[in-house]
């Protein structure tokens, strides 16, 4: 069944239809929230909040509205708000990964250094550019799709992506010369 039909049923209070929409989209919602928040529990909370907000505003979607980009827009906004409010608790995640991957101390230290530089470089980007890089380069989304989620034109997304990559290249250039 198409999302639009499920949305129609949710408008009438159909819990089963809502559950189906959650099942379909929660994994991608989590992935995006995680990219922004870099913390599993925070990302789960953001996904939960986003789905509840979506239900509260589902009348605004309109009959021809596409659920997926609309829903992911709410996820992005919820995660960004959470990030602004709480800050990023990524240190925990980096330490967890370092302990789990079993690499040699030197390699681990090198990776940790690279991650720290990347994190700093990403943090230095304007919020919009950072989100676009995360969606494009980490979640493999096309610029048109990102534009639909962020309510930007395709050209604007590409321009932001170009600028963000340029800034990251500049920030990471000493590391990239080493690797």
């Amino acid at each position: 069944m198409q999302d639009a039909l499920l949305v129609g049923r949710v408008l009438r209070g159909d819990a089963e239809a809502y559950g189906e929409l959650v099942s379909r989209h929660m994994r991608q919602a989590f992935a995006i929230a995680y990219r922004i928040l870099e913390h599993r529990e925070d990302a789960e909370d953001a996904v939960q909040d986003a789905f509840i907000r979506a239900l509260e505003r589902i009348d605004q979607l309109g009959p021809g509205g596409r659920f997926r980009p609309w829903m992911l827009r709410i996820v992005v906004n919820t995660a960004l708000n959470s990030r602004r409010r709480r800050g990023v608790r990524r240190t925990e995640a980096v330490l967890d990964t370092m302990a789990a991957d079993g690499s040699l101390p030197d390699e681990a230290a090198e990776r940790a250094d690279l991650r720290a530089r990347l994190s700093a470089a990403l943090d230095a980007l304007p919020e919009k550019q950072r989100t676009i890089v995360q969606l494009a380069d980490l979640e493999h989304m096309r610029s048109a799709e990102i534009g639909e989620i962020l309510e930007l034109s395709d050209g604007t997304v590409r321009w932001h992506l170009h600028e963000a990559r340029r800034a990251l290249r500049q920030a990471l250039s000493p590391v990239r010369e080493d690797t």
């Binding site: 819990a15 995680y34 990219r35 939960q48 980490l138 990559r165 290249r169 990471l172 690797t179």
Partner: protein
């Protein structure tokens, strides 16, 4: 071309250095249950408002139907009610015939010639 190559290298670097979302660590059933539990009051309110809407519409439709039925009953009772005793009851044909006669009234009514004739007759009788 060079920039495209750089973009690919940067993307690879980002992917290798950024931890992937820990999808295997998420208890998806629990997360789904959390979300749907949080949504239950909102969905219930929607169900109630939906049924309330249906009920209000059906209530309005019921009132309209009752009013229409009452009007129909009144009309039927007027049509089929027997004429009260002592009053004349006219059929359609009788009403039409009466109207035709009324229309023909001026022809049947006494003319000036009739009046003259009556006066002459009256005069001759007195003589």
């Amino acid at each position: 071309m060079h920039e495209h190559h750089d973009d690919d290298a940067l993307r690879a670097l980002l992917q290798s250095a950024t931890p992937a979302p820990p999808v295997d660590d998420v208890d998806w059933q629990r997360l789904h249950a959390r979300i749907t539990a949080g949504a239950t009051p909102l969905l219930r309110a929607r169900t109630q408002s939906w049924w309330g809407l249906v009920a209000s519409w059906s209530g309005r439709a019921g009132s309209a139907a009752a009013a229409a039925a009452a009007a129909l009953l009144l009309l039927l009772s007027q049509v089929s009610r027997p004429a009260p005793a002592g009053n004349e009851f006219f059929t359609v044909e009788e009403v039409l015939a009466e109207a035709m006669l009324a229309e023909a009234g001026p022809i049947l009514a006494p003319t000036n010639d009739d009046m003259v004739e009556a006066l002459l007759l009256e005069g001759s009788e007195s003589q």
